[in-house]
Amino acid sequence: MTLAPDYEELARLAFAYLERQVWFQSAIDASSRAQLELVTSRTLRSSLPGLARLVIGRGEQRFQVLVGWREPAELAEVLHGRESALLGPVFDGGEPVLAYDAIADDELLLELLVHVTGGREHASRVRRVSSLVSHASLVYDERLFMKCYRVLERAARPEVEVLLRLDKVGFNALLAPVANWREDGLDLALVREFLPSALEGRLLALTSLRDLLAHASSGEDGRAHEPGADHGSPPPGTDPDAECAAAGGDLASEMRRLGATTASLHLALATAFGDRPAGVSTFAGAQSAVAAAGAPGAAQLSAQLAAVDPASAGRTIRLHGDYHLRRVMRSEVGWLVAGFSDDPLYAASDGSSPGRRGSAVEDLADMCFSIHRVAQEALVQRPDAEAAVATVLARAWARRNQAAFLEGYVTTDGVRRLLPRDPSVTELLLAAFEVARELRYEATSADA
């Protein structure tokens, strides 16, 4: 049985469906919602169960709805637990069929993968993962990941653009793009590799910290540590840096590799998007942030920044822009960089602006701040009796791993050309960007 869908009818059902979605209400104002119209439509599968792609919108705004339809008798099972995906009945001259959000239908999602990849990829299983409202996230056979966009962008999506261009210049420390579904000048879906065994860097960092803090606080090395009377001071006879280095869970080697991967990323971004001389504006934001910080040493740092000759401040490149331990993944093939996302929620969460240009030092400062933050996170819920020792060790851990990360970065061939010629200027910028990052964090209280 086939259906030649009445797209106007489907669109009306889709409008009503969208009205019921909370995310949609926040994505478009009420007056525009009332004026939505069907922009384009396309049947992806006409035999039952049917599948069509609708793009609806108003003005510059565009939304994608994937609509499926089936006979009523079989739909109940398909939508079990996802009944809210139902759009309503449509008629094909004879018996009515029911239309619904196709994201709820495994069979149609498998069909969608074939369509999006031009028939190159087939899968036998699909699962939906919790996702941000701007898109649906789908995992196929635990090896492919599809982001099917609901909110469409007229301009090139930074996420898609960055992934495709980095892949093109041979940067392979990422989840490689497999297919980009683009029609009518709109990115509709992106398929990339999925490495289920890859883990966020933050989890590795917490594992390392757990080992260190337990090792030290329990006196497993044969030395029972008593918290120092002077809060924040290491106990007598303790060298926190040495303890960090001696801990079995020491992460420094991993951080060195992450630094090298970051350097490769920056070189690839420079190749893919070009690099330019730094200018005053490169660190103007950091300068004002430092000035506003009011912290001890801020005035001196601000004065030092003011004395920096922009011409000696290295190059600007397209940045990752949201670089921290949740955006890097450890996999069996090494570190992978993720989170080249243009999702508005990222920007809203901490004020970062993915995809912008700036000094490579900004990404480095973001990661160093993230290392510092995760060390703070590990201190949460430590017993008070251990707090003094644990705090000292966590600080030493952060110092050690920041240093390892930066060492891995600067010792990568070719990357120094992106940095200020004078290493002291790099350190200065690093400090300033870290202050700026910390202020952003404090303003939003986002996770590191």
Partner: protein, 568 residues
């Protein structure tokens, strides 16, 4: 003339023997047990372990549940490298016994369902071997080209020196012949010249001699270094593979159910070449896996293991990896990065005496601070990862080592059988013993010995014996595929061994906690939704797998083997 075979005196152990099965692929399912004959048991009271001593302990080994013994070299030797400096391929060192003793050992082992493989040193001989003595005597004697000679020490200068602690060069000047000879190992171990067809024929004749005696196969020592070529690393050359294939062909033709196990300390991608197309070696050791198991436990995260698994290519049908925790050599760190080596030294060998060449000369128990939980976890990994496990004598007792002994003797001290004199190893005077048995309060024979271990049903020895029995019941551990599962906790390593048997599809989930703290992990087991996992050791049923992530909680260094088909 062979002497008559006398029945061996044996000690009764509670579990029975099993038949030697007529299976040409037995090695895929076997648990190997490596032992040093001179250190295992001294039957004749001269202070040195011998072949008859092994015969006397076969019932213990059958009880433990091993399927094949790997004997370190027992050939006549000046013993400057633990017998790997062979002076005569055709006989047994007098202190170890006789050829008839070997014949007896094979017969008695086979009666108990145990096979025997022998170390065969094919790359080099001792400098006391008659072949070398003749070769060095002049430049034109009949064996002048049986070794690799040169007028200077410059050729192949890019080839690495393996025993870098002891040897400055792979060449040594011979004052008799007034030439340099080539050696990849010690200078007293000249390399045979495999370009010479007479050498190849002689080695093949040695192989046939021992196979005729009933030996079930060989562990081929230093198999990667047989040939040299200008501009090469001198390792893994095509000519080497061609010779090994010739050896395999002759064995397959005339000696059914025998096998070759190659010692090739290389990366898996290079080692797989030694399987050929299933027409070269039956087994190869997987060297890089071993240090990474230790690294993973110390780091409390799985990536050292999963990384090397990801780098391990598939192997031809009928081939198998040999995997191990420790052996008679140092814990070799050749197949790790410099950074990883520094890490391993820092974590496992802070005392420089513990280090040797590019490795750590320590036994398992001291390496893990005598932590039984870690020992059990490491053995659980060993017995459940793809490959045939190779146990090292004494590790089943958690024996210690003596880092003050020279070379690798510290990990080759006498097996500890009883709390009696000399640990029950020998009736000889202490001063006569091949090596001093351990006598320290933690690892000494008074505390750690087979007698105590067998009496105490909660001992590590009993735990291992039971665990080996469980593994034997589930051949999927030996021959199944492996699929590493994602886990949201880096300290948890989870993989599924998959395959099929006469009852259909099988899947066993192996999940391990690499941390010394309790851990939880969510596993994606959607494919087995509806199945009720059954724990293989205690047969306890676990909650049914539902549509959501399956939560597993593990105690410190804990592990589970769960049958996902619910058949436990």
């Amino acid at each position: 003339m062979d002497s008559p075979i006398e029945p061996a005196e044996v000690t009764a152990y509670p579990h029975g023997w099993h038949e030697l099965d007529d299976d040409p692929r037995w090695y895929e399912r076997a648990v190997f047990y490596e032992l040093v004959p001179r250190s295992f048991y001294d039957a004749n009271g001269d202070g040195i372990g011998d072949i008859r001593g092994i015969v006397e302990k076969l019932d213990y080994l059958a009880w433990l549940g091993v399927d094949c013994l790997w004997l370190l070299p027992f050939y006549p030797s000046p013993m400057r490298d633990g017998g790997y400096d062979v002076a005569d391929y055709w006989s047994v060192a007098p202190d170890c016994g006789t050829v008839d003793d070997v014949r007896l050992l094979v017969a008695e082992a086979h009666r108990r369902g145990i096979r025997i493989i022998a170390d065969l040193v094919i790359n080099h001989t001792s400098d006391q071997h008659p072949w070398f003595l003749e070769s060095r005597s002049s430049r034109d004697n009949p064996k002048a080209d049986w070794y690799v000679w040169g007028d200077d020490d410059q050729r192949w200068s890019d080839i690495r020196v393996i025993f870098c602690d002891a040897e400055p060069s792979n060449w040594t000047f011979d004052p008799v012949r007034q030439q340099y000879y080539w050696h990849r190992f010690f200078h007293h171990q000249p390399d045979l010249n495999y370009e010479n067809p007479d050498v190849r024929a002689a080695i093949l004749a040695v192989v046939r001699f021992w196979l005729d005696l009933g030996i079930d196969g060989f562990r081929l020592d230093a198999a990667a270094y047989l040939y040299q070529r200008d501009g090469s690393s001198g390792e893994n050359l095509p000519e080497t593979h061609a010779f090994l294939q010739q050896m395999r062909k002759e064995i397959d033709r005339d000696y059914p159910n025998r096998m070759l196990l190659a010692e090739v300390n290389q990366w898996p991608a290079d080692v797989v070449d030694y399987f050929g197309d299933g027409d070269e070696c039956h087994m190869c050791f997987h060297f890089p896996l071993m240090p990474r198991m230790f690294m993973a436990v110390r780091r409390e995260q799985r990536f050292p293991i999963t990384e090397i698994l990801a780098q391990t290519p598939p192997i031809p049908d009928g081939c198998q990896w040999g995997i191990f925790l420790r052996n008679h050599d140092e814990l070799t760190l050749e197949m790790v990065t410099d950074e990883e080596r520094d890490y391993m030294y820092a974590e496992y060998a802070r005392d420089p005496r513990m280090r040797r060449n590019l490795g750590i000369r320590r036994r398992l128990a001291p390496l893990v601070d005598n932590d039984r939980g870690v020992s059990e976890l490491l053995h659980a990994l060993l017995l459940s990862l793809p490959g045939s496990p190779v146990l090292y004598y004494g590790d089943e007792l958690q024996m210690g080592d003596n880092i003050y002994l020279g070379d690798r003797d510290g990990v080759r001290t006498p097996m500890q059988w009883t709390p009696d004199r000399n640990g029950g190893f020998s009736r000889a005077d202490f001063a006569q013993l091949v090596l001093p048995p351990l006598m320290d309060p933690v690892y000494g024979y008074q505390a750690v010995n087979v007698e105590a271990g067998t009496r105490d049903r909660s001992s590590f020895l009993h735990w291992l014996q039971r665990t080996l029995a469980v593994r034997r019941q589930h051949p999927i551990f030996a021959t199944g595929g492996i699929e590493v599962l994602p886990a949201d906790n880096p300290s948890v390593l989870a993989y599924v061994r998959t395959g099929s048997d006469e009852e259909g599809e099988r899947a066993v989930l192996c999940v391990s906690n690499l941390s010394r703290f309790a851990q939880a992990a969510e596993l994606s087991l959607g494919r087995w939704e509806g199945a009720r996992p059954v724990e293989l050791v205690g047969r306890a049923q676990f909650p049914v797998i539902g549509p959501d992530a399956y939560v597993v909680t593990l105690g410190p260094h804990g592990f589970y083997w769960l049958d996902l088909e619910g058949r436990g």
